[in-house]
């Protein structure tokens, strides 16, 4: 009972931390439920890459070659979310898994609802914790962009679970990893499964995305004009950080919406979040207060951002930002 399947996502044929986090979380959940787990990977990753999942305790990896899968669909596609979801769901249905664990990346979020319907499972997304009891697990997930947490139970026997990236830690647990190849035919894939096809992936010009960054430097109204964001970008550069923005400056057209952090932007939990000239409106706090360390720089000592900050300086952002950039440069020499 309670067989667990982990879908390991590879980006450009390489497994990233989110895949290892999913394997570790799946391993722990399997242990807590007294069951085993398997991994499925739909990718053109090398055998060596596939076996790297064994370093996190994956003893069995089922591998479906992405190029082979794509050969069942239209020519010239990169991948198809719908076909990948069909393949994973059909595989899970055939083998009888009860819990399917997927990392909640943009890819995972897209395929998880399809897989839940195809496997007749409940779905609980963006999980940050779990509790195992009586052969079932309940999941903890933030709601209202982190203003509160909910503990959610699934009522049917089966569940699809997505994990918030960067929350569960990947832990080394060496296992002898066996890779078993599966074919598109064995999971009943046909041309009709290719309902959506990705024909191109465009990477923003070398910019680190706030959703993936370990450090974020964010700016708000306190920077007074779009040009001053140079100060934020300079600090971000020396820290190897992504630049973020408050809703006010995105709405004002100073920054692209992809940088917006908050309830109507991105919810982030980096190791370090530096808020510059951001007062800390409740909808902004909701999106970043789960960051491990928060630094606030604001001229108003009563700004709400200081209530969630681990460190802060009350003062002029135009003086402090360049000084921080210089001070950190010194460390790097």
């Amino acid at each position: 009972m309670n067989k667990i399947l982990i879908l390991a996502e590879a980006k450009e044929n390489t497994f990233k931390s989110n895949a290892f986090e999913a394997v570790t979380a799946g391993k722990h959940i399997a242990e807590a439920l007294g069951t085993g787990f398997d991994v499925i990977a739909i990718t053109d990753a090398s055998d060596e890459q596939l076996k790297s999942l064994g370093k996190y305790g994956a003893a069995k990896v089922y591998h479906l070659n992405l190029s082979e899968l794509n050969s069942k669909g239209p020519a010239g596609i990169k991948y198809s979310h719908s076909a990948i979801a069909s393949a994973a769901a059909n595989f899970a249905n055939t083998k009888g898994y009860d819990i399917i664990i997927i990392s909640g990346t943009s890819f995972g979020k897209e395929i998880a609802p399809m897989i839940s319907v195809k496997t007749d499972s409940a779905i609980i997304t963006d999980c940050t914790g779990y509790n195992a009891a009586d052969g079932k697990i309940s999941l903890k997930r933030p709601s209202f962009a982190g203003k509160c947490n909910t503990k959610v139970n699934y009522l049917s026997g089966k569940a699809v679970i997505t994990l918030r990236p960067n929350v569960f830690k990947a832990e080394a647990a060496e296992a002898a990893c066996e890779v078993e190849e599966i074919t598109p035919d064995s999971v009943n894939i046909s041309a009709s499964d290719f309902k959506t096809c990705v024909t191109d992936v465009v990477v923003s010009s070398g910019k680190l995305d706030v959703a993936e960054a370990d450090i974020i430097v964010s700016g708000g109204r306190g920077l007074r004009n779009p040009e001053s964001f140079k100060l934020v970008e300079d600090l971000a550069e020396v820290l190897g950080a992504a630049t973020g923005a408050s809703r006010a400056v995105v709405d004002a057209g100073w920054r692209p919406h992809g940088e917006q952090v908050g309830q109507t932007g991105k919810t982030v939990s980096p190791s370090l979040y530096v808020a510059c000239g951001i007062s800390g409106a409740i909808q902004h706090l909701a999106g970043m207060s789960s960051s491990k360390f928060i630094v606030a720089i604001n001229k108003d000592k009563d700004a709400p951002i200081f209530q969630v900050a681990d460190y802060g300086i009350v003062g002029d952002v135009f003086e402090i930002l360049p000084a921080m950039t210089e001070e950190i440069k010194k460390l790097k020499v």
Binding site: P113, K147, E319
Partner: protein, 248 residues
């Protein structure tokens, strides 16, 4: 062209969340409800499509009587018809919403269906995909650009650090992300007209697969180290980040 847009009503993003007496949902006292902000991009896209190609926009919501406010907002922005699948309780899980939406959409048999990419209350980001899958339709979520050419659709979808170009064919379901368009501000005339416009009600079927067992507020952090001497504190701050927090 038959165009559907699915909308929901959510607490305003300035809401300070408190846990209600049941311990399983928020305290609704003093909460202002608005149309889910991402749904505005969905309504705008639907109305623009109607203005370009002709047709009819139907706004659908699943929820209590209160959810009519979301449909009225869609009316103000240019939707023609509204349907509320009316539940007595606000405690509805995503699967139930998707099932009820799918039942209504199946009857109408539209050419295209829009959602907001997620609602800002439970942030599940799953109703769009489940509804599409129940209907057997293709779907693309987090869409920032959409081009239609006959039945062929090309969508741009935001991903980490870039975008995907996704091709599909209608009928299809799309989840709108900020940036897809600029939602219009309703004028006074449309606001007045929306008040008396009828909303059709349909019966609700509960098909839940999940339940909230408990809701709690995040643990608050202790007071941080806040310095008040401006730029002269920078070396100390950087030292703490390096030696105490060990994050740089």
């Amino acid at each position: 062209m038959k165009i559907e847009v699915c909308v929901s009503l959510v607490p305003d993003s300035t809401t300070k969340v408190k846990v209600g007496a049941s311990g399983k949902s928020i305290d609704e006292a003093g909460v202002t409800y608005i149309i889910n902000p991402y749904d505005e991009f969905a309504v705008e896209e639907a109305v623009q499509l109607k203005e370009k190609n002709g047709g009819e926009v139907t706004a659908i919501s699943v929820g209590t009587d209160r959810s009519k406010e979301a449909i009225k907002k869609a009316y103000q922005m240019g939707a023609d018809k509204g349907i509320l699948v009316k539940s007595d309780s606000a405690d509805i899980d995503s699967f139930t919403v998707a099932k009820n939406l799918a039942a209504v959409i199946k009857e109408i048999n539209p050419d295209i269906i829009f959602f907001g990419k997620q609602s800002i209350d439970y942030d599940g980001s799953i109703v769009t995909g489940m509804t599409a899958e129940i209907l057997g339709l293709p779907y693309v979520n987090v869409v920032t650009k959409l081009e239609l050419n006959g039945n062929e659709a090309t969508a741009e979808r935001e991903i980490e650090g870039g975008k995907e170009v996704v091709k599909t064919s209608l009928p299809a379901v799309f989840g709108a992300q900020k940036g897809l368009n600029n939602p219009r501000y309703p004028n006074l005339k449309s606001i007045m007209a929306s008040k008396s416009k009828p909303i059709e009600e349909k019966p609700f079927a509960n098909e839940r697969k999940t339940e909230v067992a408990e809701m709690s507020l995040p643990e608050s952090k202790g007071q941080g180290k806040i310095f008040t001497d401006g730029v002269s504190n920078v070396p100390e701050l950087v030292r703490l980040l390096r030696e105490e927090a060990k994050v740089i």
